[in-house]
């Protein structure tokens, strides 16, 4: 019996079985692809995090401990590739004499840090020091220090020593210290006790020279030099960032234990891995937020496919029951159907996963865990969508009811309970509660192996999905029930004199139509919210990259260069829309040394995007207008406003270096607004002023960087051309390389993968939901169309009836999808604010993709309508003979 039932199914219902299997395959493919990619990307995150660290360990000897013993212990620690001693000396101040315009001048600085580096330091730690000018070995001056001292390679610098005569060294080169924050960290101090910024003045000496300068200061209390041991560690770590973090931390603790407290490890590697494990946790969060709804949708779609055949199944089962077959046997038949559908769908889905992981992600294959998880998901969906409805029908539906051709038209019970409204209210409350905690979804405290992920926050969007779906159901039910006449009037352009008949037919089938509308609406909402979230994320990553690089392409002049703004003309050419000079100076606000950027407020936005969230107290345009309103206007950071109790219009005296004399001069400015971010500016305090005013008072219009706008096109071509043009006399950077350099592991890896997977699946789901649900539902009613044809319905009238249904489905689903998509996007961007840097001020809506989704849905519905009308119009003799 079972075999003949199965053969009958395969012979007569093969299309429906295949469609069920395809629905399951889509769910399995989505789950499997995401899980495979998540697993593979975690190891990429670990590699990437480890690669960003210039010095893995900075081991600080403790008082009484032997630096040489500690060095030996560090060198012999398992996993250490190399360990070198680095001297840290404190200078009372640096001074340099330079030849100005005819007259020599002396510049001095405040206290400085002087490091003593072994000869092979740069070979062992290549990313710790970046050469800018002159030699990359010998006596090296940090960029900002060189600016303060007006020092160039070949100049002499005097190193002040407490209680001893100063020492004089000759500068060999100027360098940047990309990881100065960690280099000058207070090892062992908690995060809050770390210095807010690295030292302003830094000098690097070869270790022999350093010893000659600082050994005489040994034993002089606070001024005594210290030695720190820098170690390069093996990056052969466990692939999972959390496991890698635990392994790295354990190794550091092991060294501290073996040296019995003689040294404390500043574990930069573990810190980077700690951030990566946070990224990994966020990737997991994104997987759940953005991936799970897709899988559930695929399951819903499968359920819809099954449901459109439920009338047929109910009638068949009712017939079998009427002829004496027991319920257990019938459930067995449904289980066989579920097993066949589930197995075929799961196998097909896994095959798709294998193809996707190879072609789209370049991953070797499907992970075992991912395969098992997604296969289990597929079988579960088969059981839930095929077996459970059959079992429910057997338990709840009488034989007579089972033979009914039209299901019940009464509203589901949950509508009377107001379940949808309760769920929506719950989503709102949870969203509000999550917002009170600042949407902190992932907590990865430093030094703590465990990561805390607030899964509670998932409840908000989950309730919103369910609540909105049910609410859409309620609205469709209302429209087709009580609003049937209104719908009928609306359908007149489509169905003519059959409009009322069409609305009556839909009204009697409104439960299945509401289900189809909800599934299509949710598919559209999934596509819209995913695309909007991804677009917003990309826009923010782009904004971050532009903030760091300054513009599409930036030509940065070397320290001390005197190139004026007129040089902008030489950077124009094919592909360049505009070039904007950007001044950079160092200015003292009281005793605080800050970066000062001189701009032309009227034209700066020609070359770089200034977003409103970079400023406080007005839009970007308003703040730039304020800056332009008076030449001595200055924008300062909020921190400076608070520190110096500034009010708008207050006089701010800045001390700037006069290029003509080399001396610091006082230049009066007036505070007009607050700036929090600015292209190329650091994260801490800085100032923005009018370039012409700065140039007039300092006697120099020297430009630090030229911001080149390419309109986002041909960035690599333009940057390549400019690199050739400047031939090493300036540094050319572009958005592409900056994006790669600053992007977190999450930005660079996971979201790109998620985007590809999800946007593809969202498109497929929307198209499938539109086409399948409509055509399957209508195919079930071919007999009805045959009757209509026999009664004289023309092809146009049949098309009108079918198109009416498609129109209601399209309007309902587009409205539901657009509304829910927008609300979900807002909620997702707010809840996942932790993955954004900087946080967005508004959604970035991908109108092109959304229009494409809408058009694809409409096209899918149109094709399904045309195909169904074609089938319905062909007078089916076989069907008529059954009448």
């Amino acid at each position: 019996m079972t075999l003949s039932w199965l053969c009958g199914l395969l012979r007569r219902r093969v299309t429906r079985l295949l469609l069920n299997a395809i629905g399951i395959a889509v769910a399995v493919a989505l789950l499997g692809s995401l899980a495979s990619f998540l697993a593979a990307s975690r190891s990429t995150m670990t590699d990437r995090a480890a690669r960003t660290v210039a010095v893995d360990w900075q081991v600080q000897p403790q008082p009484g401990g032997s630096p040489s013993a500690l060095l030996e212990a560090t060198r012999t620690a398992a996993g250490t590739l190399a360990a070198l001693p680095v001297g840290f000396g404190h200078s009372t101040g640096l001074a340099a004499t330079s030849a100005g315009d005819g007259a020599a001048s002396t510049q001095t600085t405040g206290p400085a840090e002087v490091l003593g580096l072994p000869p092979d330091y740069r070979a062992v730690f290549p990313d710790a020091i970046r050469g800018l000018e002159g030699s990359s070995t010998g006596v090296l001056v940090a960029q900002q220090t060189a600016a303060n001292l007006h020092a160039r390679p070949g100049d002499s610098v005097t190193i002040g020593r407490a209680g001893l005569p100063p020492a004089v060294v000759r500068v060999d080169g100027i360098v940047a210290l990309p990881q100065a924050d960690s280099l000058f960290q207070r090892v062992g101090a908690p995060v809050g006790a770390q210095p807010s910024a690295p030292p302003d003045n830094v000098l690097l000496l070869p270790d022999q020279q350093w010893h000659a300068v600082f050994d005489p200061l040994a034993g002089r209390g606070a001024d005594a030099p210290t030695v720190q041991i820098h170690a390069a560690r093996s990056h052969q770590l466990p692939p999972d960032p959390a496991a890698a973090y635990t392994a790295a931390t354990a190794a550091a603790h092991n060294l501290e234990a073996r040296t019995a407290g003689a040294g404390i490890v500043g574990d930069n590697l573990a810190a980077a891995l700690g951030r990566a494990r946070e990224d990994a946790a966020y990737a997991q969060v994104l997987f759940l937020f953005l991936g799970a709804p897709g899988a559930v949708l695929a399951a819903l779609l499968t359920a819809m496919v099954t449901a459109t055949g439920s009338g047929r199944r109910r009638r068949e089962f009712a017939l079998l029951r009427a002829r004496g077959m027991g319920s257990a046997r019938l459930v067995g038949l449904a289980a066989v159907e579920a097993g066949v559908v589930g197995s075929i769908g799961t196998l097909a889905g896994l095959a798709v996963v294998a193809v996707i992981t190879r072609t789209a992600f370049g991953i070797g294959g499907v992970g075992a865990t991912a395969a098992v998880m997604s296969a289990a998901g597929g079988l579960l969906i088969a059981v839930a969508t095929v077996l459970v409805p059959a079992y429910r029908d057997l338990r709840q539906v009488s034989v007579a009811a089972g033979r009914m051709a039209v299901g019940p038209t009464t509203a589901p019970r949950w509508t009377r309970w107001g379940l949808d409204l309760l769920l929506l209210a719950g989503a709102g409350v949870i969203f509000w509660l999550t917002g009170r905690n600042g949407y902190q979804l992932v907590l990865a405290p430093e030094g703590v192996p465990g990561i805390s992920v607030s899964y509670w926050a998932f409840t908000g969007p989950a309730l919103l999905w369910i609540g909105a779906g049910l609410f859409a159901w309620r609205l469709v039910d209302l429209a087709l029930g009580r609003g049937r006449d209104l719908v009928g009037r609306g359908l007149r352009p489509v169905a003519g004199n059959l409009a009322a008949t069409a609305s009556a037919m839909m009204s009697r089938r409104r439960n299945s139509l509401a289900g189809a509308t909800v599934v299509l609406g949710l598919a559209l909402a999934f596509a819209a919210s995913t695309a909007t979230f991804n677009s917003t994320y990309r826009a923010q990553a782009e904004a971050d990259a532009q903030l760091t690089n300054g513009a599409d392409v930036t030509v940065t002049e070397p320290p001390g260069a005197t190139v004026g703004p007129s040089a902008s003309a030489q950077f124009t050419g094919p592909g360049v829309r505009s070039v904007e000079p950007l001044q950079h100076r160092f200015a003292y606000v009281g005793a605080d040394l800050q970066d000062l950027y001189g701009v032309n407020p009227a034209t700066i936005t020609n070359a770089t995007a200034l977003r409103d969230q970079y400023f406080q107290g007005g839009t970007a345009r308003q703040l730039l207008d304020r800056l332009a309103s008076a030449p001595d206007s200055v924008l300062v950071s909020a921190e400076t406003v608070a520190d110096f109790q500034l009010q708008p219009g207050d006089l701010v005296n800045l001390r700037l270096r006069d290029a003509r004399t080399g001396a610091l001069i006082t230049v009066p400015f007036h505070y007009v607004g607050v700036v929090s971010e600015f292209p190329t500016a650091p994260k801490d305090s800085f100032l923005v002023a009018n370039a012409s005013y700065v140039a007039a008072h300092t006697g120099s219009d020297a430009v630090a960087a030229f911001l080149v706008d390419t309109g986002g096109q041909n960035v690599n071509v333009v940057s390549g051309r400019l690199r050739q043009q400047v031939a090493g006399s300036a540094t050319v950077t572009d958005m592409t390389s900056t994006r790669a350099a600053i992007g977190s592991s999450l930005t660079a890896v996971d979201l790109a993968g998620l985007t590809r997977i999800e946007l593809g699946f969202a498109l497929a789901l929307a198209a499938a939901a539109a086409g399948l649900v409509l055509s399957l539902g209508l195919a079930e009613r071919r007999r009805g169309f045959a009757i209509a044809t026999a009664l004289g319905a023309s092809g146009g009238q049949l098309r009108g009836l079918i198109a009416s249904e498609a129109a209601v489905l399209a309007v309902g689903a587009l409205l539901a999808g657009a509304t829910l998509g927008w609300v979900l996007s807002e909620m997702l961007v707010a809840v996942l604010t932790g993955v954004f840097d900087p946080p967005p001020s508004a959604l970035s809506v991908p109108w092109g993709y959304l229009a494409g989704i809408g058009a694809l849905t409409m096209a899918s519905l149109a094709v399904a309508t045309a195909l169904t009308a074609g089938i319905a119009g062909r007078s089916s003799i076989a069907l008529l003979r059954e009448l």
Binding site: V406, A790, G792, A793
Partner: protein, 244 residues
């Protein structure tokens, strides 16, 4: 009662102003060895006012012949014309009323809405179609079922609604395929009476395919189908007296 006149089949094809004329019509189903000839070389015609019972065993081709005459099916050989209807019925919704053997009501529509369909397909306004449908239901004595869905009707009630639907557009030709097949004798008699009354009222030709001799005897003419062929036609002279 006079003895019925018996004639060879197909003579009525030469009737003046017939509603439908079949000439040497055949209809085959299937391919190759599975090919079945449902109707073979049938020539016949139906004039306005004709009351024809098509009898024969199951599978003798009665339903196929009715479908062919209704324009719902296309003959494999031979020709069918509808001179009295002005052309093929498919282009003129409502010109032929068909009552099917099985359940033929659209399950999503009420009895009234089902009955109004042919008029709507004929391009009439919903109001006009509804009033004619209500009238047809009233004529069959089932106006109280107007708002009932087909699933809520008994087989007999559903069949009466189907007849009402066939009559609502006042067709020139009524083709009823086993209209009493699922009804008890009393209800069947009522249905046939209703069919005859309406056919008389609108002077329509009526063709009823039936197994039931009690139905056949109430019609003035009888066509006997045998293995796809129209074997014998019989005319009764005193039909009005038998109607009661």
């Amino acid at each position: 009662m006079s003895a019925p006149a018996r004639r060879p089949a197909g003579q009525d094809a030469t009737l003046p102003n017939p509603l439908v004329v079949c000439q040497a019509v055949s209809r085959d189903y299937g391919e190759g060895t599975a090919r079945v000839a449902a109707v073979r070389q049938v020539s016949c015609g139906v004039r306005p006012g004709a009351r024809i019972a098509v009898t024969g065993r199951s599978g003798s081709g009665k339903s196929t012949l009715l479908h062919l005459m209704a324009g719902l099916d296309t003959p494999t050989a031979g020709t069918i014309n509808w001179p009295g209807l002005g052309g093929a019925p498919h282009g003129r919704p409502g010109s032929v009323g068909v009552v099917f053997q099985g359940p033929s009501l659209l399950p999503e529509l009420t009895a009234l809405e089902n009955t109004a369909l042919p008029r709507l397909f004929g391009g009439h306004s919903p109001g006009c179609a509804a009033s004619r449908a209500a009238e047809a239901l009233r004529r069959l004595g089932i106006e109280d079922l107007s708002d009932a869905l087909p699933d809520q009707l008994s087989s007999g009630q559903a069949q009466r609604v189907a007849i009402a639907r066939a009559l609502a557009s006042r067709p020139r030709l009524i083709l009823a395929d086993e209209p009493t097949g699922r009804l008890d004798a009393a209800t069947g008699a009522q249905v046939i009476t209703a069919l005859l009354d309406v056919a008389d009222e609108i002077d329509a030709g009526l063709v009823v395919a039936t197994h039931d001799p009690a139905v056949a005897v109430r019609l003035t003419e009888s066509w006997q189908m045998n293995d796809g062929r129209l074997a014998v036609t019989t005319h009764r002279a005193n039909q009005p007296e038998e109607r009661s």
